[in-house]
């Protein structure tokens, strides 16, 4: 998973105006990915279907997926960061979970290769 081609397939851009990428399979922390021209190592694991910041973003910025706004950032995020409940929120109705929101679910903590 450390060659460029595999890393590129691991994340997809759903719409050209999006500022997040979506993982197409479960990725381990340290996986090398290329975002635009910029090589990055994932600072945390990323589950299939989860979102990663495409570039550095400020608190309050809207997150775009499918070319549509899907919520706003609660905190600044760096390129490559996991974007989820711990750093973004709905602009409509708050979401609820059955566990602490700032912790990755157990299935994501140490994904198998």
């Amino acid at each position: 998973m450390n060659d460029k081609a595999a890393a590129k397939e691991a994340l997809i851009l759903l719409h050209p105006s999006d500022n997040v990428l979506v993982a197409t399979r479960t990725l381990r922390a340290g996986t090398r990915v290329v975002v635009g021209e910029r090589p990055l190592e994932l600072p945390q694991p990323l589950g299939v279907g989860h979102k990663m910041a495409r570039w550095d973003m400020a608190q309050g910025e809207k997150v775009f997926k499918y070319g549509a706004p899907i919520g706003s950032l609660l905190a600044p995020v760096a390129a490559g960061a996991w974007v989820h409940m711990h750093n973004m929120t709905s602009d409509y109705l708050a979401s609820h979970t059955r566990r602490r929101e700032d912790r990755p679910p157990p299935s994501l903590q140490e994904p198998k290769p």
Binding site: V22, R25, V48, G71, S95
Partner: protein, 411 residues
Amino acid sequence: MSAIPQATAQPPSLRGYLREDGRKGIRNVVLVAYLVECAHHVSRKIVQHFDDLDVHLIGFPGCFPNDYASDMMNALCTHPNVGGVLLVSLGCESMDRDELREQIAASGRPVDLLVIQENGGTASTVARGIQSVGALREQMAQQVPVPMAMNELVVGTICGGSDGTSGITANPAVGRCFDRLVAEGAACMFEETGELIGCENIMAERAATPELGQQIQDSVAKAERYYRTMGFGSFAPGNADGGLTTLEEKSMGAYSKSGASPISGLLKPGDCPPAGGLYLLDVVPDGEPRFGFPNIADNAEIVEMIASGCHLTLFTTGRGSVVGSAISPVIKICANPETYEKLYGDMDVNAGRILNGDASLDEVGEEIYRQVRAVALGERSLSEQLGHQEFILTYKSFEPIGPGCLPVRRV
């Protein structure tokens, strides 16, 4: 209840059981229907005796009267997939059993009614119920399928256990299938306005008329108000585990199930599409929130789509729902390749292949379309084979749909 779609000249490629209202069923099931929770056990014993894929249990648990529940029971008992009905009453509940029985009889279906309090209690009502279902099945065995065209088919879609893959694979693939079905004259239905919050403007742009577009926007605004009162959006913990963060993100993924056809109308549960086309089903009750969450789980929505005439349901899932439904078969489309590995015995279509680069959206859309035809021709879906016949009907209240909701009627 709305008008029933009429068959027009089109080469028949399916087969169905012709009912007196002109609709055709892709199954010929016997329903055993309890009219209050107190009659549930007796009804279940009767159904269990047969252990048959075409003997189904439905019912309404409440003892208090409710127009929506009565209308739904009538719509379900006279659904084209239903060939005969045994009603089981305790005796003192409010559901108007004689009226329901008359409506079913007037639809041309064999129907029987057993009142537990007048039949000597549990054991003897179960014994009589078994005889009754046996007799209904003998009468139904006389029914022979006739040719049925694609434009007589009604297909619904729902997503359950959605995750970050649903909106990338299974949902847009169902959208491709819907586009093809609509082009062939079928009526297709998508729903849960509460799971379309954030999509109201793009949906309105697809409406057949500006007036309908406004109705669609109003229905989503109603859903947002309703869910706000409930204190929760339609967002389950599993959605977050699977990478979805917000309700509007889930909505955008869910919305892609609708494909790209113009939206021909806005229905409420029990309203049948008046013609082919794409319809949005408004499942959020009208008026002040009274009876709790609009739909307590996925099967309540499936039942409402069936009451609106759906012959079968396309169910997309990322986390891995295993449900089917009473009355109409459910085809399961798995969005997540990791879930498919774990639950392949429950999944009719593996849309996760799209993420692995093994299939395109068009290819999976085509596979779903072929499954629709196969199941409509009598092949059992996996959930059907496994005996899944889930059913939920709860209290609700609706106003009739407003003018402008079905512009297609005027054409």
